[in-house]
Symmetry: C2
Subunit: 311 residues, 2 copies
Amino acid sequence: MQAARSVEIVEVGPRDGYQGIAPFLPTETKIRLLQQLFDAGLRRIEIGSFVSSTAVPQLRDTREVLAACARLNGLEPQVLVPSERRGRDAVDAGARRLVFVLSVTEAHNRNNVRRHPLESAQEYERLIAALPSGIAIRLDIATAFDCPFTGRVPQSETLALLDRLVPARPDAEICLCDTTGRADPQHVETLLASCMTRFPAVAAFALHAHDTYGLGLANAHAAFRKGVRIFDASIGGLGGCPFAPGATGNVATEDLVWMFERMGIATGVDLDALVPVAREAASLPGGLPGGRVRDAITARPPACAAGAPAS
Amino acid sequence: MQAARSVEIVEVGPRDGYQGIAPFLPTETKIRLLQQLFDAGLRRIEIGSFVSSTAVPQLRDTREVLAACARLNGLEPQVLVPSERRGRDAVDAGARRLVFVLSVTEAHNRNNVRRHPLESAQEYERLIAALPSGIAIRLDIATAFDCPFTGRVPQSETLALLDRLVPARPDAEICLCDTTGRADPQHVETLLASCMTRFPAVAAFALHAHDTYGLGLANAHAAFRKGVRIFDASIGGLGGCPFAPGATGNVATEDLVWMFERMGIATGVDLDALVPVAREAASLPGGLPGGRVRDAITARPPACAAGAPAS
């Protein structure tokens, strides 16, 4: 269990950030960036997906990247799997933490995986039942707060889906995802408080924030105030928003690290080591970056124009 | 006094945003944009400065803009004045709310106005003493949290300066300014709580947040949780950061309105009317925009790539 004065950052850029990049990122580049993220202190990293290479060609080399993880002593890689079958493949390939995604809203789940959320819940249950012991599970609940198709998601819907899912694996790490970035700090507080009350046996809740509306860090801090200690983020804010072309998506790892470190909360990440990686990630051809800290942190104190008060 | 379910946004773009723009914005353009901001619902607007036109050439037409305010029934314009003399000029020209800026740290105050903070405090006192009745005062405390030259500002320094300033005009609206954007939600909460305890007679505290490190809305929400109901913001996030070229500065008005309205807190601003103004402001030649909502709010629900789960 997390101490109150530290948080765990889960770096999802190599999956959630890269997957939208069209030009194929050479495997060596993926591995090098992974090494740099590790060197900067990140230990939880979502390194890829076991999905069809036709569906997500960028991540067709996940097996190789996963194999490279073995050299990084202390790294806890996780891979996304959409099904029991892919989950078995991932475990056979050496994966020890699997990520399963489903959406609260039918509209979004069908758009993503062409199934009703309860069909996805069944697939999740099959996956869980098929796993050997010792495999950690991360469950990503997309549209936990807001749906790009139907708007604000009533809390009762999110809780009802969790009612179904939690018993299958109470020790799963359950991540509430702000898919659209339209969650607000009040909503985050309220939903998380309800989740923690209703599901006291859940090992840990996490937050996956989007900064599309500038609320990424505000929502992360709201979750922190409610006891969340695990936060997804993407290096350089990579990922974009499929619902608002040109807008940002995932909260940037360097921004989240900045906020927590400023508040004296340990992240385990060395920001000076991370920012160069963030700059490279943000410059990847075809990438959709976000974040503010990268540009801010070059600050040197120049002279202000006298007479033009900077307040 | 503000009801708990509404906030007041003070639009500072026309002063704090425009002043850094090199190409002169025609007075007619300034007045037109002012009209549009007013039409969108903004009532507190910082429309310019009474300063030497050599120092801030962009704002040399403040008198004309102020005169145009008379047509906007319900508008409460405010103008920045650096001295007693300029304050008198402003009042003579029809201003009814004056803004005075000084910094907690000597380094920043000297850089801005070439004086020790206590010299500026004396100037403030002279200004207050010289005013006729009926003139409202806004006091901007720059580097209340953090200084670009000396880093984090100890709370004791900020409080000590306020000890000196508050008695001169207890009914002044006192705005704590996050000059560098390096304040964090914890710091905002702590300092504001201290201010409200120490200065119960202060009519109202306000927050001027910068989004340079992505914390603009997080800090605004922190202040809101502590009872602040008045927030500076700049249309299109105009203003930039003199300390980090290329970085953003002022929190964007449209972002702040988005956040509060999402939480059911009334701002009086119509976001649909505001966003086009924000887009124009963000496109002003030589402008340094910020903000996220402008780009996000074009969201339409397209089909996601099937198989590439959007969490």
